[in-house]
Assembly symmetry: D2
Homo-oligomer: 349 residues x 4
């Protein structure tokens, strides 16, 4: 690939956990040049000062955080902009940047929901930029590589959705489960809640603690059901319970669904293999082989397994991923690579 030029990139809102992982990957990405990192709180400080783990890493000792203004971002020369901002804030940047001719990969929820009414229902406020929604692509690289490659605004999926959607899409497309029977429990590490000064996230509160939250209607349901409905070609409503467990990173989703059309483990295996045989970051562990987050953290892999239980005629699908990588920054880099026309896995292994 020596004849491919590097692409200049910016990370806006780079001081949180997803931002830091984006930076980590971009600093060693052979075809990306990190030219701009923004953070209102850290403006003027060196990247390696804010993140001491990047000390002695090339560029991190040179690059300084700047204020997150549209002009400064454009002025940095960046061609692709990653937005690692809270929902609602991201939309304020995406529009002007796209209108300036730049490409945007948004890690927030702002452009994930194509129907602004569903957005309003789940996020409690009107969508800030509904006219732009038709131009945004929900960026699952395994499912929509071409759309991503041609897009100027990618809405990169959330961590819970990725862990639930990827296992189910091939199954729903092949009509192997009853799409009204999907019930999910997802366990997540605390980094998923962000780097917030919230006493509920203190070590002394999270350690030796297992706690569900946001029942019964977590915001991520909206994008999960949107994507499952597309795959099923039907309106899909699921049950979803997120649980906070004491790990720093990692998500494990346990998904129940009733078998349909006589489907057993073999049909599931075939459907998953057909869809993901060429997907570099989807690992199919096989039936009755529960996955372990330990094997995927610090990587961009998602591991998927399944079990058919004849006693109940149900399947349990299980998936694990690093919530900050495959569930956020790594997935965004996959989209970046597709948009640049380079190998999807560049910089990720």
């Amino acid at each position: 690939m020596s004849n491919v030029d590097s692409t200049k990139v910016a990370v806006v809102g780079a001081s949180g956990y997803s931002g830091a992982e984006l930076i980590r990957i971009l600093l060693s990405h052979e075809l990306a040049e990190l030219v701009c990192v923004t953070s209102r709180a850290e403006s003027g400080r060196k990247l390696s000062e804010v993140f001491p783990r990047f000390r002695a890493v090339e560029r991190a000792d040179a690059l300084e955080f700047i204020d997150p203004t549209i002009d400064l971002i454009i002025g940095s020369g960046a061609e692709v902009i990653f937005l690692a901002l809270p929902h609602g804030v991201a939309a304020e940047y995406a529009g002007p940047l796209v209108d300036s001719g730049l490409k945007v990969i948004d890690l927030s929820a702002d452009f994930r929901i194509s129907d602004p009414e569903i957005y309003a229902d789940f996020y409690g406020e009107a969508h800030p930029d509904p006219d732009r929604l038709p131009n945004a692509v929900y960026g699952l690289p395994e499912i929509r590589p071409k759309e991503i490659a041609e897009s100027k605004l990618v809405a990169s999926p959330g961590c819970y959705p990725t862990s639930i959607i990827l296992p189910l899409i091939p199954i729903l497309k092949e009509d192997l489960i009853d799409d009204s029977s999907i019930q999910v429990v997802s366990m997540s590490g605390t980094s998923g809640a962000g780097k917030k000064a919230d006493t509920a996230l203190l070590f002394a509160e999270c350690n030796e603690s297992i706690r569900a939250y946001s029942v019964p209607k977590h915001r991520h349901l909206s994008e999960i059901e949107q994507e499952l409905s597309i795959a099923a070609d039907n309106n899909v409503t699921i049950s979803f319970t997120p649980v906070l467990v004491p790990v720093t990173t990692g998500i494990c989703s346990i998904i129940y669904a009733s078998s349909k059309n006589g489907a057993r483990n073999e049909e599931v295996k075939e459907a998953l293999e057909n869809t993901y045989s060429a997907a570099p970051f989807v690992r199919l562990l096989g039936e009755d082989t529960p996955p372990d987050t330990k094997n995927v953290i610090h990587t961009n892999f998602i591991d998927i397994s399944w079990s058919y239980d004849q006693r109940s005629d149900r399947f349990v699908f299980m998936s694990v991923e690093d919530n900050l990588i495959k569930g956020a920054s790594g997935q965004a880099i996959q989209s970046f690579n597709l948009m640049c026309g380079i190998d999807q896995s560049t910089g990720l292994v």
Copy 2:
């Protein structure tokens, strides 16, 4: 209570995690006198030497572990015997001890399943003492206090089953859910797997790890379904996935079930309150109030909450408990208290 005499007790197989918690409770139980602790591996060593946390605790510096022979146990003068032994081994002790006129509280699975064929199906071998099964009581103190009080052989329930059965019994009795729709994910701390020299349980393997196991047919299903079937007056089959998470103690169960007969949060609340209003260790947190294992570990409480989701017409029931206390030793002490005719919560708060 000064006119009630202490009861002499023994703990057989006292060197594991449940045994240690039993000992901890019994050492400060005002109406129990610990006269005998057995462990083949620790025979001859003082209790406080094997468990340094009991140093300077009265009796623990005096009592020595002895070999687990029937004669020595009987000779100790103990009137009630707690068996904290692996399944299969416990039955070898229970019979002779009961036949000698002693009362036995068995923390293993050996006498939990009333149908020996189901035992054989789930445990992979013939039941070692099927004739005694009709005389054993599945010892849920909140559900069968009278039967426990009169029993000579109590099969104390397992940790997963307790967390699932207690929330569901009142709901099934009132016919508020479809009993074919029950699907459970339970997260457990590593002490639930016992104090075994198994590399899969090392800190370096469990830390930063979330992993399901024993899918799709965990042994505990047999006792869970037995008790749910009694409550429903129907054969109940459920789905159950246990997940190991990095906490030392604590279980959280997330239970989905479809609403029936138009049941909503109010009917659930009423059913639970009617059953547990006088139960000292069941705390009903109310609807949409997810529990946290942090609030129950090191106690005998089980915290229960629930949420009705009108989008799917399903309930999610949530429960948390300390797997070693309410899920094992504390529950056994409740039975002990009932068998002694003293207040159920003696020694537990």
Copy 3:
């Protein structure tokens, strides 16, 4: 003790970690009646609502937090007031309350340093109430039981100091170590930093992290050196490095000191046993028997051991305690018991 009346108590600043542990102990203390808990932030909320782990515990469902005003505290009828407040704030309460005839046990640093100039040096501001310092007792129950029993203002020691002072006092009194050679590394759980909304204390920041802090001059040095100097009858200066490790509670101190006067393990053992033979919460593990915080957390014990190394002619003293109990609330309860004329260990085992 049926002829001893309960003492009415208040906890001021009860919403932090030490406050919560004080409340936990006081709720089951048979000779204390908790009549008042204050917290500006939680005013008007029930105790069991703020701390769900106390639900169904008697009094916790009835007692409500009130605003921390002197008048309300006095009006509650409390006879002994525990102050679980930040340093600087505690002194604003201690004076008026003592002047009103109440007894005060202050868990902050405000009255620990008898010399106001040293206070100013370490805390960076003038002492707020220097005239009262001569009347305050540095409340180590093992060392000054009589002074505590007669005091109206007890300055209860900090967590690091307790773990360092208790092992060394007998050794310095017997002149068994060179008092200029003391060098300490103390590891602490994160609850020691308090329940603060500080991103540095988030689970995702503390997990898989070992980090020293406050080098080379931690504030606790001032009280440590004060007490060691009294024991040595000489001005003692030590080196001290605190290290944050990922546990919720627990402190382990490793203390190096050079042998003096030919002292070996036996002399150390004798000195420690002579001082602590009747101390209910000091456990001497013996030589070459390193302690484990796991054996003392959730208890009021401090475990102490020691090793003489002939290669270097140095001792290493090791101690472990629960930083919130023996290092804070439990120790304060020992003082309370002494002030009430009841057994020192009431409510603590």
Copy 4:
């Protein structure tokens, strides 16, 4: 470097934690070709089956574990052999392999101690191959790059020693501290104890636990003092206390030493900078800037800082590293790179 050929390598004893990290690095090392992995227990199984985190990583799905016989290892065509074996066992392989003309990098203690009598004193048995000791190089890449490059048998240093020796060598060489005053407390994650089926290393035993061990004479003292003595040109005896804390990986060493010749922070800084200015993996954080293991785990960096305390005229040196990488496998790869004549940091960043 396209004109440099890959070197064929083998990892003997590859199923433990250091072995797995070696494999991880070697699988993506552009100038190493992993041709042989051995493990008696895992013989015949694929690399990616034993270590599921390597699934879908090139070569890991193809390579199978073989039995660890000298003939099979030689027959694999490997040119450089990494020994990740217990001490005592490694020496049985090192001799025959070196005699066959292969280069060996031994991660065990077998060839670290140049004096066989000291080995016998600390390891409790006669050295298995004393004649070969003069030919072995104690492989600190920052200190002896040339000797390593020319060696056929590198004894790669242990994790504790690396964290203590690297900060102190420049200081001792410049005579900035009293070499009789060195006192160390090192905290380590549990992976340092290896992947052993030992109940003391279970999650439920290590979590919420801080425990010192091997006091007062840990085996690693022998190699630490050997290297410090060389630097000081004097016989150096130190005090050393290792402490197990609940992290998977990471070591933090806190090192006290008395200032000499009027040395202050500036002289220390100069000495460290002079030695390590070109060392790619040593990061000098500066004075009064305590390091955090979180910033070095999963990397080959060692972070070093220092503080002069004028109150005691002592320094405290602090270092952190990943015990499995800079403290084991990463350091061994540095030596490998030097032996191959390629850039020291190849494959490590």
